[in-house]
Structure formats: C-alpha cells, structure tokens
C-alpha cells in the first residue's frame, strides 16, 4: 500500500488529490493526511504538521491551501494547479448533481438518517487525525502548553480563530525561539 517514490508528477498530483476529494465525506483533511503521510509518503508526519500550520495561518479553506502548498512544493505553479483541480473538480460535479437531485426529491427521511450515521463516523476520522498529530515528538515538551491553549481557547471558550491566532502564533513562535537559544 505504501510505496515510497520520487517527487510526484503533475498527473499524479491531480489523480491523488481527486481521490482525496471524492473520499472526503464530512472533512477532507484526514484523507489528505492519509494519502500524503501514510500511503504515498510524500510528506513525513512532521512535514505534514508543519505544512498544515502554514495553511491554517493563511486565509482560505485549509484543504485548498494544503493542495496548493503540496503541489507547489513538488511541481511549482503547474503542480499547484493540478492538485487544486484534482481536489475540486470531481466534488464540484458531484455536489451540483446532488443539488439537482435534492431540489427534485426533497428530504427523504431514509437519506437523512443515513447521513447522520456518516457524519458521526466522519467526526471520528477527524478526532483520530488530531490524536495522530498530537503524537508529534515536539509536543513532548513545554510547547504542549500551546496545543492545550488552542484546544481550550477554540473548543471550550469559543474565541474567534483570527483573534486567537493573532495572540497565540507569535507567543508560540517566541517560545520556540527562546527554547532554542
């Protein structure tokens, strides 16, 4: 399942991100991590965390930024475009077809209850990804305080993300700098 290879070509970026896009029910990022880190091994677990950190800081949908970031890393502008189109094209077509069907058939109760089950499992995928990322060796230090602060600030206190990042990102980077003196 996991063959390590050289840097992916433009076609492969398109193909793999298409797979990621169409698999991503209720959240695409776990599928992107699975493909990038576990299956293709294009990024190490640590590189994935770093890239995601950058993508979260930049404006725009995180998963779209991730595709652009990975595409750029391996194949420049063409790679970014290929990864982006892969991620978006098939799901774009699917969601429009679903939209058309939805206006036709309204809300069938059976479909709604199936989706409740799917969303519950999709939430589990995101929880598992968070826990896998938390296994990062960098969190086995005082820096774990910032992970805790992010969880408490966003999940429990429900601070606006922009406000939180404006305070937490510089503080965390300063702490990293102070630690490496």
């Amino acid at each position: 399942m996991s063959e390590a290879a050289g840097p992916p070509g433009v076609g492969e970026l398109f193909l793999r991100f298409t797979q990621v896009g169409v698999s991503g029910f209720g959240g695409v990022m776990p599928w992107a991590r699975r493909m990038l880190v576990e299956e293709r091994r294009w990024l190490s677990a640590e590189e994935f965390n770093e890239a995601l950190g950058l993508c979260q800081l930049l404006p725009g949908p995180n998963i779209v930024n991730m595709a652009v970031c990975v595409g750029t890393r391996f194949r420049g502008a063409r790679g970014a475009f290929a990864a982006f189109m892969g991620l978006m094209c098939a799901p774009f077509a699917i969601v429009l077809v679903l939209g058309a069907l939805f206006t036709q058939y309204g809300d069938v109760p059976a479909i709604a209850s199936a989706f409740r089950g799917i969303s519950a499992a999709a939430a589990g995928l995101i929880v598992a990804m968070g826990l896998k990322m938390a296994a990062s060796p960098r969190l086995r230090s005082v820096m774990a305080v910032f992970a805790l602060a992010a969880f408490v600030g966003i999940a429990l206190v429900r601070l606006p993300l922009g406000v939180f990042l404006l305070a937490a990102a510089p503080a965390s980077i300063a702490a990293a700098a102070w630690r490496s003196r």
Binding site: M1, G21, V22, G24, G26, V28, N49, E50, G53, L54, C55, L58, P59, G60, P61, V64, N65, T72, G76, L87, M88, A90, P91, F92, V95, L96, L98, G99, F102, A110, S113, A114, G117, I118, S119, A120, A121, A122, A123, G124, L125, I126, V127, A128, A134, M143, A144, V145, F146, A147, F151, I154, A155, P160, G162, L165, A168, A169, I173, A176
Partner: protein, 174 residues
C-alpha cells in the same frame, strides 16, 4: 458578465481573504451577504445548501458552488467557486514559494516549531466541535468513538467505516 455573476465574483473573492481556519468560521458572513444583503435566498434555503455540501464528498467550501448554482446556474457555480478559491490560493502559492526558498533557515524552523503545537490543538478542537455538531444521540457518540479507535489501531480503510455507519443510520439506529 451579468450583474449576478459580477456580484458573486466580488462577494466571494472578498470572502476568500477573510476565511481563516475553515468555512465554518465565515458562515455568518456568508449568510449576511447571501441572505440579508443580496437577498438571493431565504435563511432556510441557505442552511439546506450547507447541509447538502457537508453531506457530499469534497471540501465544505463547495457550499459556495451550490449558492452560485442557485443564483445563476452552472456559470454561477463556476464563478463563485473560482472566486472563493483564487485569491487565497494565489497567496498560498506565493508564500509556499518563499517558504521553499528559506528551507534550512533558522527563522523558518522556529516559525514551524512554534506553529505545530497550535495546529495540533486546533485540530483536536475541530474534532471536538464537529463531534458535538454531528452527534445528537448516544449511538452517534458511540459511532464517533469507535471510528476514531478503529482508525488509530487498525489499517482498515476508513471508507468501510463510513459505509457501515451509513447503514446503521439507514437502519434507524442513530
């Protein structure tokens, strides 16, 4: 371009640059522009489109495609999707390139080291919030917990878990 297409392009390209940390965070702003300012649809229709985008595979930002489609058909869908993705993607492309150039630079290492814990915390927070939003019954929470545990301890392909959970839902157990 027709008026509606121009408006879609303007509204969603502005939205692109204020979307920090995911679609959920700009939902209120999107609602304001689509329902209150432009009057393109009712609040209930807006909520339905969002639920539909969440249920479909792919990035949740595709709710924008559905809004564009509702306003002005296929062209609207394409324009709205491109508008919401292009500005942020160009910025990400530029920053990624700068980032590549400073590979090995000390400040880049420090920025990454500082951001990783925050990123991990945000991802755990996302998992927590999505679980609360998705699950409204004990069975729902159980499915979430079992899915997470299975993904962490086995190599089963996650699509099987989604399919199984969909069947449980279909059977009326969720």
């Amino acid at each position: 371009m027709s008026d509606a297409l121009t408006q879609l392009a303007i509204d969603f390209s502005l939205l692109s640059l204020i979307t920090v940390g995911g679609v959920i965070t700009v939902l209120p702003e999107m609602h304001r522009s689509v329902v209150e300012v432009r009057g393109w649809m009712s609040g209930a229709e807006f909520a339905q489109l969002f639920a539909l985008a969440q249920a479909a595979p792919g990035p949740n930002i595709l709710v924008v495609s559905l809004i564009g489609w509702k306003v002005s058909g296929l062209a609207g869908a394409a324009v709205a999707t491109a508008a919401v993705c292009a500005p942020s993607s160009v910025l990400t492309y530029a920053v990624s390139q700068i980032w590549q150039r400073f590979r090995g630079a000390r400040w880049r290492k420090l920025v990454e080291e500082g951001l990783v814990p925050v990123t991990v915390g945000l991802m755990l927070a996302g998992g927590y919030l999505i679980t609360l939003a998705a699950d409204h019954s004990v069975a729902g929470f159980a499915i979430t917990a079992v899915t997470a545990a299975v993904v962490l301890t086995t190599r089963i392909h996650p699509l099987w878990l989604l399919a199984g959970a969909g069947l449980l839902g279909l059977a009326g157990w969720v």
